[in-house]
Symmetry: C5
């Protein structure tokens, strides 16, 4: 559970709602047709932008912004160092029986235990990291696309409202309220983009970078194990991926 995302979403919407309520005219900010054109238009354009499967997948990906749990890179390094010790004391083949939870690390370890050559191990693992990044990038793309399109449909809605208002200026008292309604779509678009879509896209990008970091640590570790490097060298090497504050000093 990523509490920061929840705090941010609740805080952002909370502040906007509080500001509206303090203005004493909350009802004036609710206009279902305006909401439909901005939200619906944003969705429609995402369907044009991405293949169906990507759009559907994006909602699953989007959940990561709320529910992904950060992992401790030190624990990953410790596990790899332990595997390096097993490989040294026993043999590479002995790694086959080791319990490894992470499927990516497991795949690498099994390739090594099977005696695959190091070019194959590296190429299989690198392709997997690359394509993980590409899949995540597509998922972020859906949210970035919504973050671009929401203000655009907000503007389209406001233009429709303005044209309507300007075509019919006969009743001066209606000008202000008509323009207020026209501005609502711009307001909805700005809130959707800046309180939801764009920051979520950024969080997904951060999460993807984090995952790529873990996978790169695993890749370097697996290669080191295959080369038969000493566990203390493996640790030294992998700790370079951590910030100085997180390192064990031995």
């Amino acid at each position: 559970m990523d509490i920061a995302t929840l705090i941010g979403i609740l805080g952002g919407f909370g502040l906007v709602v509080a500001t509206i309520v303090m203005g004493g005219n909350a009802a004036g900010f609710v206009d279902p047709p305006s909401l439909v054109v901005v939200f619906g238009g944003t969705f429609a354009s995402v369907f044009i932008m991405f293949p169906m499967s990507v759009v559907i997948g994006a909602f699953k990906v989007g959940m990561k912004a709320f529910f992904a749990k950060s992992r401790d890179p030190k624990a990953i390094i410790d596990q790899i160092v332990a595997l390096a010790e097993t490989a040294r004391k026993e043999s590479l083949v002995a790694l086959e029986k080791a319990t490894v939870d992470d499927p990516f690390l497991k795949k690498g370890i099994i390739l090594v235990a099977d005696g695959s050559d190091d070019v194959l191990v590296r190429s299989v693992m690198e392709i997997e990291i690359d394509f993980m990044k590409k899949r995540h990038y597509q998922g972020q793309g859906v949210f970035k696309g919504m973050g671009t399109m929401a203000p655009a449909f907000g503007m389209i809605g406001t233009l429709i409202g303005l044209v309507n208002m300007l075509s019919n200026l006969s009743d001066p008292d209606s000008i202000g309220p008509a323009m207020a309604v026209a501005l609502l779509t711009t307001f909805y678009g700005a809130v959707m983009a800046n309180v939801m879509f764009l920051p979520i896209a950024k969080k997904l990008e951060e999460r993807s970078m984090e995952e790529a970091l873990y996978m790169e640590i695993m890749l370097e570790g697996v290669i080191s194990i295959q080369k038969g490097e000493h566990p203390s060298i493996v640790k030294e090497k992998l700790q370079a991926f951590l910030s100085p504050a997180m390192r064990d000093d031995t």
Copy 2:
């Protein structure tokens, strides 16, 4: 047939039209000269931007956003694994008689069957992937160009309308309607760019990335076959291109 594109286009235009109709002034949104200047100007600038052949080709490329069918990368991998089995059981030369539908895979397999060395096979196939990307990028460029130019011509149209209106303020009753008409070109430009051109450019980009992925799978597969790798290794390797959920676990 890419149903998502159709849903998106119909949904996007549908919402805009519905919003206009609900405003009770639908006729006020139809102004053929405004439509001509925005659409025509957008087209004219695309002719300046790209060589004639690219502009004409772009419409064919654009059709892909509507009619390209997604392929199943697993089927491609299965076919390559089957070819790897043939090559192992029989010989590389036997591949010549295999039926391969995809012209790119076919070309690679024939090069291998002919006994070309692996540097040549890789270089011919990589050049082809690169230039496929460049050609597609040009096609997307036409739609991106239209997506940039439509709002620009929308603004030019609105400026013409504003200058006309401001030069002649003698009749106050005509100010509102004149400004409404002036805003129409901005409205047309925003709708064209955001409901059509920009999202279609993005879909073409996604389709191109998908095609490049298939071609990279084929390239890696062909190289593996040439190296005489075991079909199970070939499968292992190529599955790294898939998302974990799509993989066969054996």
Copy 3:
């Protein structure tokens, strides 16, 4: 002669002029001082941006958007294949007597005929492609710079007009026409940038990419000839640079 550029420029300006004339106030759109500040300011800033020689060279480069003729890459490939045949049947030295029009291909062929080693041939030809791209990029830069600066000077002109108008509101009848004139510089800037400078910069970019493609085909071809590859292999290799529709199937 690039007819598309001509069609685009005439079409774009034609539509703008037609829209103005239809407004019945064409004289109101002609204001020489406004034209001078936008056009002159744009030019002045280009002189600050680029060295004198680049600015002067850019006009020659800009002509390419109008007069460059597309070449047929198939003809280039055919010529290279013919040269490969000569080299095979006779000798590399025999290439010296071959008639080659293109100066870049000629240079490569002469280097090969002179018996230069392949690292030298590749490095001389690659440096030439790179610097051709850099020179063209600079030329495009002048047009992109004008495309950025024209709207900026348009806005500066409009701000001057607005400040003048607002300082002197005593005669209400003059407000409208004064604002109309103030908007003219914004209008001129938008038209210059979007109907001329930016699309021309894009066409120059496309032409440069095309030329780089031809040069890359020539480079690969020359290297293949030097290696003594069979003409049919040379053809196979070079056709990868073409779109599938343009290839000869043999």
Copy 4:
């Protein structure tokens, strides 16, 4: 202590406050609810954008814009040259006893003294430089994110104010002041972004580049020491990292 940052912040805010005071209406620029929605909304969105640990870490990173002290690259080079002399006169093992303050340089020297091979030394040090850059980039990202979001929440606040004002135009005397208040959030957002967040993000980027430069000098120096290069060659090589004016001429 980075005095330039302090001068800039005080100067920027000072000028804005002075301009407000000179307008004679300073009280009109203080509106706590507006301040809360812009500042709070900006913070909320940063929580959505980044994992909790990064947001918290960013304030520590941000302090660097104020308190980081520039180092003298010449002193670093002198120290490395001295280490190279020790290595030449005594031995690589003798480096173990050298006093080295910088932890990154220390790590490299110890790896060399331990007799690690040069591929390991380079890879450990390069990974550390890369990940230092990535961590810093994330820290800058928080400030860039706030610099983007502050104007967005400024605009959202202004839209709320405008809708409120337009819905209730019955009292003409309140229109001006209501709009003045509505504009305050835009003003707050612009000041926060341009006087604080964006320039601080840039300073952090500059500091990170500086640190990377020092680390690259150390990396090249350590590798040279390991190769046993002559101290004068080491100096020659490392001085290429300095501007000509900073070099010793010997």
Copy 5:
């Protein structure tokens, strides 16, 4: 002396001033406090953005936009060819006595004369080119930063003016002039950014590219001399860096 920069600056400011004077209200465009907030704010933010030494250095770098003199790449090539002849006829050691004005070329020639191996020569010279580019990039960054910040402070000034004006609408006659003054900061920001800072940043970029080109020619030349290549080959190779029109045909 770069005359183009002078022409551009004088031309740009001249046109703006002429347009103002023609408006008959030149005094209305002079408002020292507005000038102070835009110019001062822009400077203040640059101090936050960059370390003190870079800000101070930038003014020296900025002078290059006015005073850098273009060099003739042909003369550089001729000198290198002459050095290649000396090296061939006499020996590499004889190069030590050659008179070379350019300090970068001199450094390379001395390294070669000293018998350094080619990896060292190339690495020392490449590091120097890279860091020259980075230093220049930082200098350009200061001008780009001012070009971004000037319009931002222009907008901040205008917002302050608008809030002041809107808070006090009691005297209708003062509205126009108050808004005129409010717009002045936007006007100052736009002029500073577009007539000075942004075009100067671009010129510095062009000058840096030019210098990098000369240094790359020198690097390739020095390496060729070290390899003992024939002067005519050296010339052939280095002329690839020139545009076809500038080459000697021999």
